[in-house]
Symmetry: D2
Subunit: 440 residues, 4 copies
């Protein structure tokens, strides 16, 4: 018998975690971190006090207490990609599963190691890397296979767990991008093969299940950036771009457009430095030749001062702060805490979407107000998402033809849209409930 | 074993229908009509062509084909109240269950009979009336009990089906109103008693499960009406009120305020006439002494002409058309198709909410545009809903302590909010899915 | 010639200030404080550093530099009512107009004095009180008249400035409430008289100009409160109500319902204490006999501890924090910083609307999340606004028939709705622009 | 003295019309048609009854009565481009100005002539064509200049009226597209030159003034189309695309992608035929070689029948109906009124945005519901707008540095955003109103 525990991430975005029990073996897929809750929870805390218990109680990490009886059986932890809501909880919770190996694609593993270094957390679990379309035999019962897929960070994978009862397919997060800026196209052939072999259950990213679209390619985001960077008049102006640090493809487009603009590209901030290093170390992209990366807070301010001096129109500045996070570089710049003056007509490009939580909306609104007061030109939403929309999901379902569809990675409003799609595609209506005799 | 078929109305508002199979007996709760789909479907059709098949295909009535194998066993059809989305499908579908009796409160029965007369439909099923808190023994296995509840039409009931496995409680639609304008307060004692006896499943109205409120009393709507009718300057002006024809309590408030204003109250339109007659015939409210009811189209126009002549400020006019329905009285008035002139400063009071479908929104927008062009003063949303909000639902669950909660009467966005509430109240999280061996 | 300077508050809610120059005399109407900007601006500041300049730059108070040339001429400062967005900037800016007297209704004056005491600010201007429908002769040229009006704080007035060119009428903020819970009804007769005498310009509250309604009476809010307090099951539960501290009528309803519930009413927090004292001192409402007011932070925690001990179901607790403000009493309670335990089923009643800025929305969402986690029942929006809606505005315009209408107290989206109403009522369309010869 | 009459289109999208009086000469810019109002107004009317009066009263065309005293002086009517909200009112209103010539770019003129033919309207005004960057001398006083600009239909122009007092610049509608799919880039040099010469007033498209963006290039729309047409699995499926008939660039992309897909492209419907013919006749694009255009209703159905027979996966079908218009081809297809069967998995691509009026929203919702019921895959919003966003507007203002900015082509919510931008850019705050003595 196969049991599946939806530990976290089935009604929200943040604390993703799924546990699959096959016989006596348990495989854990993703252990994510809910950033907003994490920040609230650790706000007034000493770093040394950040216990797993505190993080569970504050809903920063999945509530693993619900699978306490499985604890001794966990043999594998597989983060599907390098985003914090998938990998960020591992440092705090993997200690519960001391015998489990962590299995990840090289980039994901590199990012995880970076986090461990930075937070000074030591773990006992072994980290093993696996190619994005390799197979791994854990036991007679359990075979794991990676299937490379496109998403907004490199080396994202769909995980297939082969069992005697069929395949469990874990497709959190993905989109089908036929024109990716970096990396391979989705492996359609292998997905179809899974379908042929028999998929028992598909756990599927439902973030945009209510969008009646195919999610546009990352090459469209590149085009949008080209339009803004080469098409808007920026002579004599500063250009500041802010985007997701883990989005190496996006950064690549920015760098290449910076070169076309004949501006020197600088990346400012610890988070950018971390992901850029991981990309270089794993051979995905090496920006060394064309980009100057400045990591530490004090250096950032000094570097900006020099930019002011040399002429800010000679630079393209990439920095963190796209969600308006207090204390991000962009926030501090807007707040006059850095040695940089924004003048009327300077460009600030948000190559992202505001992730629509009330906190982000409030933070962005405040940040944009500060920027606008200085006369900056704001370019919002120069972005395309990395998540599947309704029509990507439909193709995924058509390809792998699962027996069961388990919507995930979204609040109920959206997972219910995925259920609607499944129903539309002929999955049973389940409109009859049966009650066996019950003693009340 | 008890089986429950969610035939319709579990992911939308309109085609409500639930079938409960207890042994060899099937009880049907509600057979509703989806008005918008019905209008689209029957638009170009000859009345004689309106078959059950057409109505099923067009999603105007519940798809009863899904319980075709139960057909012969249906012994009772129980409409919970007089709204069309609960009672309006009976004329078209009860023929499928020729042996079933229709069991209803007197007002509901009267409305059903009116519809049958009007549409010239003859049915073979017997219509039996039962008091709002009476019991009915159908067989050894099946006992039915009515529990009076507050809602936006009189004599609404919660249906309890007593079985050996426990009680099935059908609470579509309800709110807890302690200060109702008409009828009794909810029967809390009996609900608590149900809980004591053991409720197997509660089917519950989720229309506003996402509203963090207790739904305000109808007496608040009365206060809002008072405020607008007595508090706004209407000297020398026409006053037109439009509201739900079936909302006898609302009509009562309007009539009483009309008397206070010293204006003659007239009700215009077939639909108003129908419900007012049912209310009078069942002893709920008799407006005869104070209201002139004009039923037929031709008379409506003549009556309005006379109002113009006698002085429109001597009248309070109640008419249909609150959702902007094309060809409603108010629509035709705004369109200059009736012998009545709207002047700047005349009052049009919408004692309703726009039911937020795109069609209604478009219709209302167009109607209000016409009214505004003539200078009419528009008073929107002079209304309180008849549906439970989150805190009513919480109290219902606390009172009856069901083993299972089945959210109904809303799209998935809202039923999922009800699920959230259940979870909040400690109902099991169901985060573990189990798969027994499956041959793929 | 009369000149009118829209110093602040004509495209936002917060920094209200209007200056009217009649000959050599300047009358200032309101000097408001923008709370959100004020909090941001003074966050990291030492109280001693809070200069007028800082507050102007941070858009916390009106930018009075725009009428610098009028400075010497200001003879009167008239706050229209006791809300901070109308009176809160006076302490910081009245020093610019040392010769100006401050003229206010008794309650408004008392609140202003309280603020000055609390912030330890000394001003040189004389504070004079005037009855809510008295007249005041400032000079041959300038006569000021107060007209009592209904709003969400006591003794709100409309200010009439009589000049040889006609009357300037300042109607920020108001609604027409014919059933007020406290104070007199609006003085319609006097408003009509203003119209007869000739109103040159009406400056009018546009907060809800896009709401096609008459704003409901405060007596409706009272009914909503009754419904929630007497109609929801709170046996054995805590009841916490949070509302606007300055809303004495609302507090009165809460106190009276508390008595009906046979619970002891306690008011917790400095802000409540301040307004309650002002209401008592000016003879508006004396809660002394029925309410225990606890002012200081330390006492609040102690009092809550005692409530826990004595039985929280014997109390009705009123506290600050309705917008989710960090560090408000309710926030700290939800955060476990006070000696009070919220249990599942305890009631938290928000007798307010979330003022829809991103910051408030984020704060409220976070607060409600904390409350929900503890199982509290949340009752939102038990509230009716104190601002005029479209149909109140229409009546005001009909009564006073101004030559010019100047929409105020709202962003452009809403002031443009007021302009639309004016156009609807026959005010000239101004669709022809004329350009006299211009040297380019 | 120059006078400017904002006859229509300054607070809505639809009935655009501006009249500029220079001495004794009046130039009219655009005479648009409000389609929704037009349809409502002419619904039950005999075509012969469609008088200018009816159209004015129903707000289908601009209310030219407001410039009745200028009637005899109108010497020129200049439609800025071929959209109906700019050119569609000319047939009905140009008779009021019998002496006026109509001056238009070749494509615009061709479309106008097509409409006249189709509606069988004969006008006496001469239609003169002018190249998109030509000059035209009307009199000593009045010189007109066309400036080519990018928009969503070919040969759109900005109109410059040179007067002794400066230039009047009419920029309705435009965006700055540096990578247009068809036609020239915007003529930045000439716009800057206008600025140097002195622009008295800029009338500017404010449709998206509240979008903090530069509007993306049409080449992005092309990329989006490529993604959907080449990137989604459509083997064996029908592909139906619906878009704006006047959008020749979009049609070009569709045709080219159809060729890549190796499918035969057919255009169905009268409206498409009309614009395609105009594009061919004016040398803009000739689809003859690659597209089969079917104009008349009866032929459309026959052609679809043949497509069914030959295999629908051999075709790419382009048809009207993107806003869900009842009786459009797509509507009739979804309604089973055409000889074409939609099967599960067939593609329907909306290469447009739903223009957000309640009517369109309702129509689209109904259409999509029908399509979904048949199992069609829907791809929404494969589109980029032709209107300037905030940052295009900022560049326009920077280039031409007008003395006055007149926001147009949007409801007040948006024109107020344009005013906000102007204020941000340093245009005077106008916060002081002056009243000269007034006799009341």
């Amino acid at each position: 018998m196969i049991e599946l525990a939806a530990v976290g991430g089935y009604s929200e975005v943040g604390r993703n975690m799924t546990a699959v029990k096959i016989g006596n073996d348990v495989v854990v897929l993703d252990i994510g971190l809910h950033m907003e809750n994490y920040i609230h929870a650790t706000n007034d805390e000493d770093v040394l006090n950040i216990s797993a218990e505190l993080l569970i109680k504050s809903e920063s990490v999945p509530n693993v207490d619900s699978i306490r009886d499985w604890e001794g059986k966990v043999s594998l932890i597989i983060p599907s990609h390098a985003h914090l809501d998938h990998v960020g909880g591992i440092p705090y919770l993997c200690g519960r599963y001391p015998k489990a190996d962590i299995l990840a694609a090289p980039f994901t593993a590199a990012v995880l190691r970076n986090i461990l270094n930075e937070e000074k957390i030591r773990i006992r679990n072994k980290i093993k890397t696996l190619d994005v379309n390799a197979r791994y035999m854990q036991s007679d019962e359990v075979k794991v296979e990676f299937i490379n897929i496109t998403h907004s960070t490199p080396q994202s994978i769909i995980v297939a767990i082969h069992t005697k009862q069929g395949i469990i397919l874990y497709a959190n997060d993905f989109k089908f991008d036929l024109y990716p800026v970096i990396g391979k196209k989705p492996d359609f052939a292998k997905l179809r093969l899974m379908g042929d072999k028999g998929v028992l259950a598909l756990i599927i990213d439902s973030t945009y299940a209510g969008w009646y679209q195919k999610m546009p390619s990352e090459s469209v985001a590149r085009q949008l950036l080209r339009d803004v960077l080469l098409g808007a008049d920026n002579k004599g102006r500063a250009i500041i771009v802010t985007t997701f640090s883990s989005h190496i493809a996006r950064l690549k487009s920015i760098v290449e457009l910076g070169i076309k603009l004949d501006r020197k590209v600088v990346f400012l901030g610890r988070s950018l430095a971390k992901y850029v290093a991981a990309a270089r170390d794993t051979g995905i992209a090496d920006f060394t030749a064309n980009v100057e990366v400045v990591k530490f807070k004090r250096q950032v301010s000094r570097r900006l001062k020099r930019i002011m001096k040399e002429g800010k129109d000679r630079y393209l500045i990439v920095m963190t702060g796209h969600q308006g996070e207090p204390n991000s570089s962009l926030y501090r710049l807007a707040h006059d805490e850095l040695d940089f003056r924004l003048d009327p007509g300077d460009h600030v490009i948000f190559s992202c979407r505001t992730i629509p939580t009330p906190t982000n909306i409030a933070n962005r609104e405040y940040l944009e107000k500060l920027l606008t007061k200085k006369g900056a030109r704001i370019f919002r939403d120069i972005h395309v998402s990395g998540h599947s929309a309704r029509e990507d999901a439909r193709e995924m379902i058509s390809l792998v033809r699962p027996k069961h569809i388990i919507p995930a990675h979204a609040p109920l409003e959206m997972t219910s849209k995925m259920a609607e799609l499944a129903y539309e595609m002929g999955y049973a209506e389940h409109k009859k409930y049966k009650y066996s005799p019950v003693a009340v």
